[in-house]
């Protein structure tokens, strides 16, 4: 490791300065006390880093989690790397493909574009939480039946989005489905089959 006097290049301030400044600025910070301590006592930066996490309570697929995460951790990375729920996919990381779609309190969102800490206390449903006790959700069944995928990578996002699309009442026609599913890209091009699957679920009247 380099000597203490070395200044990092560019616009990035040194960690310690950052910690000192930011933690002294506001009274309602969620960053815990130890960070302040680390900054004040000029502990080694790598030690200080260990404290840069905030606590987070989340319910994922019915399981309550009490976690400690960096504020910059996205919901997507939290699911994939911390909770090993890799069914939720990273296809672009910029909200431009939909592979990371999950439900937060029942609404479909791009998990790559929100920080996990912003979801304190919320209920997250991922593809792993859609089937009930080994029985596939009707949308999952329909995707298998209509071959609504090829490589399978966009599939969890398509299915989470499709379930929401039906629940929202945006699956009234083929055209409406195509419009309201356009946030989920399938590069294999299984769109016709995905639409057929959604229509079957919608028309089948099963509870989604």
């Amino acid at each position: 490791m380099s000597s203490e006097t070395d200044k990092p290049a560019g616009h990035d301030e040194s960690r310690r300065t950052f910690l000192k400044q930011s933690s002294l600025l506001t009274a309602f910070t969620i960053v815990p006390g130890p960070v302040l301590q680390a900054a004040t006592y000029e502990l080694d930066e790598k030690v200080a880093a260990a404290f840069e996490k905030v606590s987070l309570k989340l319910e994922v697929n019915g399981v309550k989690h009490k976690l400690s995460v960096e504020p910059r951790t996205t919901l997507l990375d939290l699911l994939r790397e911390n909770l090993n729920l890799t069914g939720t996919k990273k296809g672009c990381d910029y909200g431009q493909c939909g592979a990371c779609t999950v439900h937060v309190d029942g609404q479909r969102v791009n998990s790559c574009l929100s920080f996990a800490v912003m979801h304190e206390g919320k209920k997250i449903t991922t593809i792993e939480g859609l089937a009930e006790g080994g029985k596939l959700h009707p949308m999952q069944e329909a995707f298998v039946k209509h071959d609504g995928f090829q490589c399978g990578y966009c599939t969890p996002g398509q299915i989470m989005s499709a379930v929401a699309c039906v629940r929202e009442g945006h699956a009234g026609s083929e055209t409406e489905i195509r419009e309201f599913m356009s946030g989920n890209i399938c590069r294999c091009g299984a769109y016709s089959n995905i639409v057929a699957a959604i229509q079957e679920v919608k028309n089948g009247g099963q509870k989604v």
């Binding site: 969620i30 929100s114 912003m118």
Partner: protein, 327 residues
Amino acid sequence: MNQFQYVRPSKPQAAIEAVTKDANATFIAGGTNLVDLMKRGIATPQKLVDINRLPLNKIEKENNGLRIGALALNSAVADDKLVRQKQPLLALALNAGASAQLRNMATVGGNMLQRTRCSYFYDLAMPCNKREPGTGCGALEGINRMHAIFGFSDKCIAVHPSDMSVALVALDATVLVSGPKGERRIPFADFHRLPGDTPEKDTNLEKGELITAVDIPDGPFTKHVHYQKVRERASYAFALLSVAAALDIENNTIKAARLAMGGVAHKPWRLTAAEQVLVGKPATEATFRQAAEVAMQGAKAFKHNAYKLKLGPNTIVQALRTAAAAA
């Protein structure tokens, strides 16, 4: 992405204070643009003030108009009965933007504050005065097919990407803002700025000012409205160019008109002169074409976006046609 501090105040005043006091602090709501910019190192706030839990998401009637809370989700506004009944143009514009998932995250306030999608702004290794003042405008002599034809400067030719804002400027909306110096109302047309010599500033918001709501006055534009968005694929793409059109027609005569364009300037581009051409005239193709010609006066193209000089008037005509025919 740099590490940052995260706070989540429960009162607007606390949020305003937090951002006002800290030079490197910024609000975060839906995060659909900010998180993206942070990932790419374009935005590097040291502190995020999460405003999502502030009570600013109501959609309600207010003084002969509609008041939409700044934190109302784009999807909630687009699906709202009151909005669809009183201001259907807004619902159309919202649904033309982004994807269903993004609309479930993006807020009304955040939508207005979207930054440009100019490729040069998005690449730290290329020049951009908006991102890094003084480095030059990469697009000026570069690949500029998406860029402005109105109101640009030699410092910046980027366009504002919001669809919602095009409808709001057409509908004479007002932005309600709360800041360290108290509250103020900003007419929508004055909310966004032209680039001039300071393209780094997108809006006239001051440090620490928080958008709390948008007011839209009631009007006669409940039926003959259309939002025409031209893009390179059928959905989920930023506009090459878009037009928001609202007409009040009686006995085939246009009594009132509102017209604005997106994808042509650094701000949503209201077409007041063209509106005046429309008023009092029959709702015919000839009228629409005449308005479209007036609308394009002063437009100037760059190397790759000359098509907008033709696409612009055509899209205006198409938007007006469709609005007039709407039943």
